[in-house]
Symmetry: C2
């Protein structure tokens, strides 16, 4: 397998973008990534796109062809593939694109992630997202994602003494980071008190513990490392890629406070990259709910099991902490257009490693990690990126 580099990134504003269509968003992100890489359409060998449920959100499947068409690349009959694994669709599209370049079957590949979620009303969006859970054994009985993560939070509090305030600190920190990100869905400061006193969604999670329903897209350009310098000097290498599964339903697991898919995907990625958790300078993790970020930093090995809440409270995960988590604002503040999330995470890490993250720049960042979850942890994709 060949080494693979990311040579271009593009991202749209995330938010309630009623004036932009699905195809407009993905085309905007892709065009930005292509311009950033300094390539032209004729250089592109293949497209991959991650999207969770365009069939329900916008009444369109066959997204691979749609993206080729909307970007004009169908004229060259470029192969295009959609990948779906719920909210891990973007991360998994990146992994498929990575494998296709590493294998030698393609050279220059564009991979995008996109979701247009605000064209349906809130209740329907919740129904659609519930399709990432086990429809027959969870969603059918009325369990929504906030409810599943609330159960995880309650158990984590019981097992490890994690406090309600520690959960809130995740949201406060990610909103502080989002203030520094021009593309973030939410750019306003919140406090622990405002999280605690916000509308209850599923006890103990209030609405400020939950990531929003967002529209948006992000894209990357991949190339074989040995050819990357032909196009640009801004090269980041994909040094590790891991993927794992777990039971679709939460009740199928021995322990709901550890996501085994995260542990296994991270093990693969660390091994391939030849690094350990302590070598990671920053990480973009899947904070769909505040408790999810606490699980993530534990399962990725940044802190000991059960100490995620404490580490957050102590400020260790802030941009100036010893393990900066979600400098972009994360899903919580940057927004969570589900299919775009995994690609947007990688886009943020690339910008950080290139020293182009502006006010939210993590100092001396050389190795970064992305962590993208599908459902309540049934899919996990982890990538490790390094400055070349």
């Amino acid at each position: 397998m060949r080494d693979v580099a990311i040579i271009g990134v593009g991202i749209t504003k995330f938010g309630e973008l009623w004036d932009k269509s699905f195809r407009a968003l993905i085309t905007e992100a892709g065009t930005k990534a292509i311009l950033d890489a300094g390539i032209e359409g004729k250089d592109i060998d293949a497209l991959f796109v991650g999207s969770m449920s365009p069939g329900r959100f916008i009444g369109q499947e066959h997204i691979g062809a749609l993206v080729a068409d909307s970007s004009g690349l169908h004229v060259m009959n470029i192969p295009t593939t959609r990948v779906e694994n719920a909210c891990a669709s973007g991360g998994l599209a990146l992994r498929q694109a990575y494998i296709s370049v590493a294998s030698g079957i393609h050279d220059i590949v564009v991979v995008g992630g996109v979701e247009k979620m605000t064209d349906v009303i809130g209740g329907e969006a919740t129904d659609i997202l519930a399709m990432a859970a086990d429809q027959e054994w969870e969603a059918f009985f009325g369990v929504t994602f906030p409810a599943l993560y609330a159960m995880i939070a309650r158990r984590h509090m019981h097992e490890y003494g994690t406090t309600r305030e520690q959960l809130a600190e995740v949201a406060v920190k990610n909103h502080d980071n989002g203030l520094l990100n021009p593309n973030a869905h939410f750019r306003r400061k919140i406090t622990v008190d405002s999280v605690l006193n916000a509308t209850m969604v599923a006890d103990p999670l209030t609405v400020l513990d939950c990531s929003p329903i967002s529209d948006g897209a992000a894209a990357l350009v991949l190339a074989p490392l040995d050819k990357a310098k032909q196009y640009t000097d801004k090269i980041v290498k994909i040094s590790g890629s891991g993927q794992a599964s777990d039971s679709l339903a939460l009740h199928g697991r021995e322990d709901i406070c550890t996501f085994k898919a995260t542990v296994e995907a991270a093990r693969q990625a660390y091994k391939q990259a030849g690094v350990e958790p302590k070598d990671i300078d920053l990480a973009e993790v899947h904070d769909c709910f505040t408790i999810a970020e606490i699980l993530a930093i534990e399962d990725l090995g940044f802190v000991k099991k059960g100490e995620g809440g404490k580490a957050t409270e102590e400020g260790r995960t802030r941009i100036d902490g010893d393990i900066p988590i979600n400098p972009s604002g994360g899903l919580k503040a940057k927004g969570h257009p589900v299919g775009a999330t995994g690609i947007a995470q990688a886009a943020e890490v690339v910008l950080q490693l290139r020293g182009e993250a502006g006010e939210r720049q993590v100092k001396d960042a050389e190795i970064g990690l992305t962590h993208n979850i599908g459902g309540s942890g049934a899919t996990c994709v982890v990538h490790i990126l390094e400055v070349v």
Copy 2:
């Protein structure tokens, strides 16, 4: 890239299977493929699955995790990926699985295709399938797939003198083949007259020119060629894999009588395999409508452009003809559970190349081809398989 073999196949009955769920179907096909390959669960490195619109057909996304879970493989945290490109989802899942083995990232990979289409009523199934067309520029204005293919048929008749009877001959031949396939959705003989006099769907296509709404699943086991013999003696090599796109909407093309995505995908596959159309002993092509099979045999180079109707009428595409097409019965008679189709095509070719196709066996078959289309030709995936 390593050579890749198919070492196991499994297929369910296709039809209106109201007593079998989506997860039961894919698990049945996967289990059959695993048993056929002589492997065990612990040998499997990854799963891929093609499915077009489970989000609309059964209210479930996150299909990769669902399949791992329903097959019990989540216990080993096996990575699972869903691929979607409309009715080419199965063929494209096979291509991703192939690339993952060829790259060296995985050894033993199971790839399945599945769709459960009969849990919604007919009109809704048509709406769901229309999401493979351009929703904003075709489906929104009331154009359904039979209508799109009817326009292609009318134009083909105008350009090349293809007759209504020649279209019907495709259906008659495929029903004759389906009679010989125990898993086929339809196992009854039809005649040219019965096709011509059936209920009109979209002029000139009657209901007997159209493939049915079916439930079903199919699966394959892939392995590196040099390790395949460890597991089984029944080895077929994937010698070529091609994929291409075209405009999503039919109106975006210069010529609707040629699917450029087919021509380009076939060019790639022939080149990789080092063979020409005349070397192919049999093909499973995407006959979602009778006109589609005529386009396919022309675009794949089996006959000259415009002569597909004549070749069919002359019996050249029958099991005992010089280029047997769809010995399984094709989408028309075997059935068309859309996500399963591309995998089922490969399963049929493998059985033919192994000499295990029973009454429908093509004599001396050594090289076979599969041709899987998404939408009205916006995606095409072609594979060439050879006896080792």
